[in-house]
Amino acid sequence: MKKIIISLLSLCLLTFAVSAQDHDDHSGDATEEHHESGDHHAEGDHHEGGCHCHDASEDEFDPGETAFHHIMDVNAFHLYGDIYIPLPCILYAPEHGWSFFLSSKFELHEHGDGHKAIDGYVMHHGEVMRVQDQSFPKGEVAVKCFGSTHEGDKEIFQVIYEGDCYNLDKKSTWDGGMLGGGITSYYDFSITKNVFTMLLALFLLFFMFRRVAKAYTTRKGEAPKGIQSLIEPIFVFMRDEVAIPFLGPKYEKYLPFLMSIFFFILGLNLIGQIPFFPGSGNVTGNLAVTMVLALFAFFVTNLSGNKHYWEHIFWMPGVPAWVKTILTPVEVMGLIIKPLTLMLRLFANITAGHIVIIIFVSLIFVFGQAGESIGGSVLGGFIAVPLTLFMMAIELLVAFIQAFVFCILTASYIGAAIEDHHHEAEHH
């Protein structure tokens, strides 16, 4: 019940924040389009008047935008103020080839903007972007600032270099242009914040579990102790309540996969809950990550599917032929929909959790008018702190629940694929 109230409350706040942001964008649109009429880089007509730096300090505080910046994947780990932990950039542009360098080379300052351009790459909002224009100088050059323009519905970021505006490409994405991305002039294979967090989770979990596994040999015949007694109940619970009931006697073959899924998601969810370095990465709230996990679940399920499983999908026994013509397409769609729901559920839950917490923290700045009103800030703090605290507790629960749900559903899909239908065969 409480969760429902909180969800509704956060939903209201979220809608409020998003609509507020839309308002800003609209007002921004109008002014920018005024300024930029007649200025198009492609026409080679650069005049200083058309290019203007986007001054973040003049912006009104926008919780929605702040939230979106916090949940996105970036190429440098923000510590505090202007201090960033550099991450390796591995970039590939088909026309230029590979570029490798540390993101510190961009000389980051406020809001994740870089002072330097390297081989036509710049950093804006912590994200590497690429200058579309091939005439932009290669190597290391200093850039002035960043701005943006609009082409139709799309906001295009610009870099201002020597008084000229250059449109920027974002990295390629696989959404086919439907979600504002698409294949652009380069690919980003960098160790981003998310990749870094995944590697961290990998090492942390591996060393933790290695210790646990070793404890079973060094302390053989003794009661579990320390970290071993933390992991063991979770492990046994997942095995006895998830793997064995769904997979039956063949559960041991799939146990490592299910455990990997569970602990990988759980580890990433929990690291994401830490609000500062090395946490805060919204890894399981990124569609690419959940897509990979769902694809693993899809392949493990369908590669272990037996004859009965495929028979039930393509030619359901015991139903009239005309029903089969309806049932088969539904079942085939189900093959895709199952991992799709896995992917979206995890993504939506974790992203929503991150957004809600950031929105709650943002209340301080909303009430305080971005630091102008101390009284407002204090009031906002009194509202925001308990709400955030409560939300973080809920998110802690969600971290476990989502890992568990992903795992139990994967187990049920695999279980359906490997189940023996002897008992049913007897009925027909």
Partner: protein, 173 residues
């Protein structure tokens, strides 16, 4: 329109190839590493321990059953033993009586035998005594006869000589 603008900022929904590739790589490594060095050994150890516990429980149950069996057997043995004892006692009693009866019989027979022997002896002795008596009587009669004869023959040397020769003749015999 506004929806698209909203999504334009919402970058996490756009799957990036770079992150995709890294996730595939990292999760594959994670899966392999954890399966080999953590999950399989832990599962083995847990299974071994559970088997161990189950075995111990089974063992204890078996021991308890054995104990109960043993107790029952003991009681049975005890009952058997007491029965045996009663039987033995009864047999012993019977044996005793039989022995006593036999002994009595034997004693009776012995007594009879002794009595018979005694009778025999007495008879023999009597016979001996009678014989002895007869002999004595004979001797006495002879002595008397001798004395009588001697008296009668006194003074009659011739007769005496004759008797002497007769006696000598007898002695020679």
């Amino acid at each position: 329109m506004t929806d698209l603008l909203f999504l334009a900022d919402f970058s996490v929904i756009r799957p990036e190839p770079g992150l995709f590739v890294w996730t595939v790589l990292i999760f594959s490594v994670f899966w392999w590493l954890m399966a080999k060095y953590a999950f399989k050994p832990i599962q083995q150890a847990l299974k071994a321990r559970e088997d161990d516990i189950q075995n111990s429980l089974d063992e204890a149950k078996r021991a308890r059953e054995e104990m109960a069996n043993l107790n029952a057997e003991n009681e049975k043995l005890l009952a058997q033993a007491s029965e045996e004892r009663a039987k033995i006692l009864k047999e012993a009693k019977e044996a005793k009586q039989a022995i006593i009866a036999e002994a009595k019989e034997k004693a009776k027979e012995e007594a009879k035998k002794i009595v018979a022997n005694a009778k025999n002896d007495i008879e023999n002795l009597r016979m001996a005594a009678v014989t002895d008596l007869k002999n004595q009587v004979g001797n006495i009669s002879i002595e008397i006869a001798e004395k009588i004869l001697r008296e009668q023959l006194k003074g009659d040397a011739a007769k005496e000589g004759y008797v002497k020769s007769l006696v000598d003749e007898i002695k020679l015999n």
